[in-house]
Symmetry: C2
Subunit: 203 residues, 2 copies
Amino acid sequence: MEQGRGGKGAGARGRPRSEAVERAIIEGVIKLVEDGVPLAELSIERIARTAGVGKATIYRRWSGKDEIFVDVLRSLEEPRAELPGTSMRDDLVVLVEHIRRRGLNMRSSAILHNVFAQMKSLPKLWEAYHTTVIDPQRRVVYDVLRRGAENGELRKDVDIVLANELFVGPMLVRTVLRPDAPLDEDLAERIVDTVLQGLRPQE
Amino acid sequence: MEQGRGGKGAGARGRPRSEAVERAIIEGVIKLVEDGVPLAELSIERIARTAGVGKATIYRRWSGKDEIFVDVLRSLEEPRAELPGTSMRDDLVVLVEHIRRRGLNMRSSAILHNVFAQMKSLPKLWEAYHTTVIDPQRRVVYDVLRRGAENGELRKDVDIVLANELFVGPMLVRTVLRPDAPLDEDLAERIVDTVLQGLRPQE
């Protein structure tokens, strides 16, 4: 039942990975989802047919559907934020702004919205997305906070895990939990500066 | 097809609402969900049969399934938090603690977890839950923050909407977005006090 199967017996390992083929497969999935096919109904066979490759070509690159979907999400992500490195505050603004941009993309991109909404009822995929996309981003925030504690920009008595949540939590609430809340351009800066300064009046 | 239909022609309006009947209906829904029936497949007829009432008895109280589900969720909620009123800080701790408790319930109650997970793919229900349960809670936080700004406990230059998110966002991240993150007993206090004080070192 396979069409366009290429490289049969050519030795999958050691061959240069063809990015064009991966791109075609990922775009095939995006097209199917855009056409309204639910993730749960997407078969490797159908993805292969849409991308014009054989199933074996897909299985050489991914162990299964969940792995492909994670790469689909990754392909739709904003490129990783470049940290300016000028201060903890500036790095945090860039990282929180990254979450805002993802929220904006999610609102404007039907496909991203769609894949995300469906993913929440697919726990294995949700977990894979967190392990490969979200957790590494959180570790970047932890590193920035640790550097801040070392160079005196962050109180040393505050738990890094809690500090991360104080900075990213408010933005996540607006982007993930309140899809119609405003996402003003200066929101990342306002969150970071307000959390740094505190909400108690200073005399 | 109706069983146990009572009060036919008895004049629905003006009669005292029977809390026992409502309770039986809500518990019927809970039982069905516990038995693994997906929300989308729950019909008014099946709910009526399980509760031992007629469909008309249900329609006298609720306009449809979504309204019943919201009441099911409400029946599983923690009772509304009593505000101590001693200070904005103490009131906020109680309100953030309320979110922590809801998170703990969600983790320990299969039914609550189940209804919530399913609800996310039922936008009308999700919206009704927010309008009737979540939004009023948010307004309570706004009131507490406004009183705090008036009596000098909260910086007056901070937007109330943002302030709310700074206090509740970190707890929501832990309870809703990271279902395996720890929910320590002192978490509400730590969040409120840290946000009030700020994360910048004070000399």
